[in-house]
Amino acid sequence: MSHDANTGAAGKTGGFSFGRLLHSPLALPLIGLIVVSVLMGLASDSFFSLSNIMNVLRQVSVVGILAVGMSFVILTGGIDLSVGAVMALVGTLSAGLMVNTGLPAPVALLAGLGIGLGIGLANGVLVAWGRMPAIIVTLATMGMARGLGLIYSGGYPISGIPSWISWFGVGRVGVVPVPVIVMVVIYALAWVLLQRTAFGRHVYALGGNETAARLSGVKTQRVKLAVYGISGLTSAFAAVILTGRLMSGQPNAGVGFELDAIAAVVLGGTAISGGRGLILGTLIGAVLLGILNNGLNLMGINPYLQDVIKGAIILLAIYIGREWR
């Protein structure tokens, strides 16, 4: 019954077995995570310390949250290139609302979430009803979002926001950083949406066979609208955390983060063509990327070389994944 693990069909019970785990789509990402962790642990004494692990997870949180929305979009067979730029725009605008208009900070943060959701929904309308390819639509909105953020801020970071906002970026509950808690909660919600609601099944159905889904009465356009909306919303949540960490709204933040988010989704075992993949895989993929970043830093490797190594590892992982089944 390992097939159903593809889409996480529930309704069956069965004990844990190693064979089943090995055939799960999570097997490869997990093995990758373990291998990379062990290598990093051997290379650096401090890697396995609690403080370093929490540090890695904290660093992962922004891309990790972006990757949640990206997972929804990719599962339907689409793509969202605008996530990094939307995050920067939302961060810049909410900081601007606090500093320039004197709007109460909580209201400004909520407005930011609304803006993110709105841009996502706009992407969705253009893709679903405008019948334009997602890659083009989101490429265009990526440019527009980035440009609007720069216009609004004149290209400079907007600082002077209330100090308590840093809690979202660097705060802790016990030993656990707040952004990590936010990230885990978002993943849990995403899991429930994908595995326990009709909407989730329709997301998988769209990626599996859009025509069949439409002809059987699934409201495919609304499903598309929703996944891009979710992606916009998770971009805005990532913006809150980033703003808290940087204590300012940075119009230049998050350049290239859309690529990291896509890499996390794909490393997590989700098919880029949609229809297959698990949200837990995306979390593993994001952490894997974070460990690579952290480990290569701890080893003191030239940052330019780090990009090359990361790219090579992604290629290797996808290649092995292709041969896996």
Partner: protein, 499 residues
């Protein structure tokens, strides 16, 4: 010419071919027969090197051959035209025929002139006139098939496999294909012909080989068998009558009335009404507008004008989801491309549009209810599978169709539209599908059945709308439902054009 001996094939522990023989002579059309799942496709994949046999030998003109891959089989003179074409839609016939082995002139540039001349020569050899310079997606299905055949011949194929070539052709196109096949036979090509239409076997084939459940049943000349005997060899039991009895005609209330539907500007305008408890057949040639009409009715396809009444009230559907809301469901013609999510389990496919029925706390799927409902629906349509969690791409065509039916029966639908309900489904499963359709109408449901198989139209329909050139030209019932009347309307019916 070609001799396959004792071919066995296992996938893991399961053996699907249990020692099959096939002998094909030069200059003959050899029918390979069997129900779906009998092993025809597997055998053909072994012949052309896509699969490797677990045991057994392949001999061509007496020499034993082994094909590691498709290319080696092509080099040995084997050509295959698959059910699903492998042409590149935006390239023209010449480019498709010489794909990946383009002729080059000096400087390594393409020598289109030489390729075009060779292509034209092959088309002449086939005695067909196919436009060579337009993208193949603009050609008819039959013409695309000729391009495929020409492509195989340009590779010097001496053994040609045609896998269900007539499934999507109109009768006149089939005639044309047969003419080409006879010409090739005259030239000494050995043709292996796969078809579910038995009348075609008698028309074109010289000899037959029958497989059943991966076993070799018999090989003989066509003249030695008749229709009943063939069916018996294929299914291993005599099927006297495929079709369940029709109910007595009744004046049941109309459930759906299409007052007018016009597909294209200036095209014909059709109207029809569907009564409770009846099967309304849509007959006509491929491309006569049957599928387009039902899609237009549901708002899933283009229409110039469309007026629909459900239970007497005017409705305008903007898509299949609104049809579903009014109890009208579509079972599309291509299960793999339009009917099923092949990466989903049976359960997930049946549930796909059913979630309204099993909710928990408004938002969540009630997994227990879902499993219970799906299991019940599977039992109702008698799906043969390991269980509700089996993936649908592991099922046979008949069982896949049952899954699609289960999806709709799980709702309280009042109208089901079956588009080619038994295409690519074996004889035994066909009878089961027919029985399910009658069970549905006996409960008061109404069915529109689009079918290109005349016996099916005649055996199942209570009334028949005959289509021609985008509109209904005649509606027949009772004793009028017989092949000659329907074919006459379908091929020569008068079409009323309304601007």
């Amino acid at each position: 010419m070609l001799e396959l001996n004792g071919i066995r094939k296992s996938f893991g522990k399961i053996e699907v071919l249990h020692g099959v023989d096939l002998e094909v002579r030069a200059g003959e059309v050899h029918a390979l027969l069997g129900e779906n799942g009998a092993g025809k496709s597997t055998l053909m994949k072994i012949l052309c090197g896509i699969l490797q046999p677990s045991e057994g030998t392949i001999r061509i003109e007496g020499t034993e051959r082994q094909f590691a891959d498709y290319d080696q089989a092509i080099a040995a003179g084997i050509g295959i035209v698959f059910q699903e074409f492998s042409l590149i839609p935006y390239l023209d016939a010449v480019e498709n025929m010489f794909l990946a082995r383009e002729m080059r002139g000096r400087f390594g540039t393409l020598d289109r002139k030489a390729m075009r001349a060779r292509a034209a020569q092959i088309m002449r050899q086939l005695a067909v006139d196919v436009p060579l310079d337009v993208p193949v997606h603009r050609l008819s299905v039959a013409e695309q098939q000729f391009v495929e055949i020409a492509k195989a011949l340009s590779l010097d194929a001496r053994i040609l496999v045609l896998d269900e070539p007539t499934a999507t052709l109109t009768p006149s196109e089939v005639e044309h294909l047969f003419k080409v096949m006879r010409e090739l036979r005259r030239q000494g090509v050995a043709i292996i012909f796969i078809s579910h239409h038995l009348e075609e076997i008698f028309e074109i084939c010289d000899r037959i080989t029958v497989l059943r459940d991966g076993e070799f049943v018999a090989s003989c000349a066509v003249s030695e068998v008749d229709n009943d005997r063939l069916v018996e060899m294929m299914v291993g039991r005599r099927i006297e009558n495929n079709f369940p009895p029709k109910p007595a005609p009744s004046a049941a209330p109309v459930v759906v009335e299409v007052e007018e539907v016009q597909l294209k500007k200036g095209g014909p305008v059709s109207r029809f009404a569907l009564r409770r408890g009846e099967i309304l057949g849509f007959a006509g040639l491929v491309g006569s507008g049957r599928t387009e009409t039902v899609l237009a009715m549901l708002g899933a396809g283009p229409a110039q004008r469309c007026k629909v009444k459900v239970d007497g009230a005017e409705k305008r559907f903007r898509g299949p989801d609104e049809g579903l809301a009014h109890g009208i469901g579509l079972l599309p013609e291509s299960r793999k491309e339009q009917g099923l999510i092949t990466s989903f389990s049976i359960l997930q496919n049946v549930s796909l549009n059913n979630y309204g029925k099993y909710r928990k706390n408004h938002w969540f799927i009630d997994l227990k209810k879902e499993l219970a409902a799906t299991t019940a629906a599977m039992a109702q349509v008698r799906v043969k599978a390991q269980g509700p969690h089996a993936r649908v791409d592991t099922l046979s065509g008949g069982n896949q169709q049952k899954v699609v039916i289960a999806r709709w029966l799980n709702h309280d639908m009042q109208v089901l539209i079956f588009d080619e309900p038994t295409r690519g489904i074996d004889v035994g499963a066909k009878a089961e599908i027919y029985a399910l359709m009658r069970e549905f109408t006996a409960r008061g449901g109404a069915i529109i059945m689009i079918s290109s198989e005349l016996p099916e139209v005649i055996g199942m329909s209570d009334r028949v709308c005959v289509f021609r050139s985008g509109g209904i030209v005649a509606t027949v019932e009772g004793d009028e439902i017989e092949s000659e009347t329907i074919m006459t309307h379908a091929t020569t019916g008068r079409v009323d054009h309304v601007a």
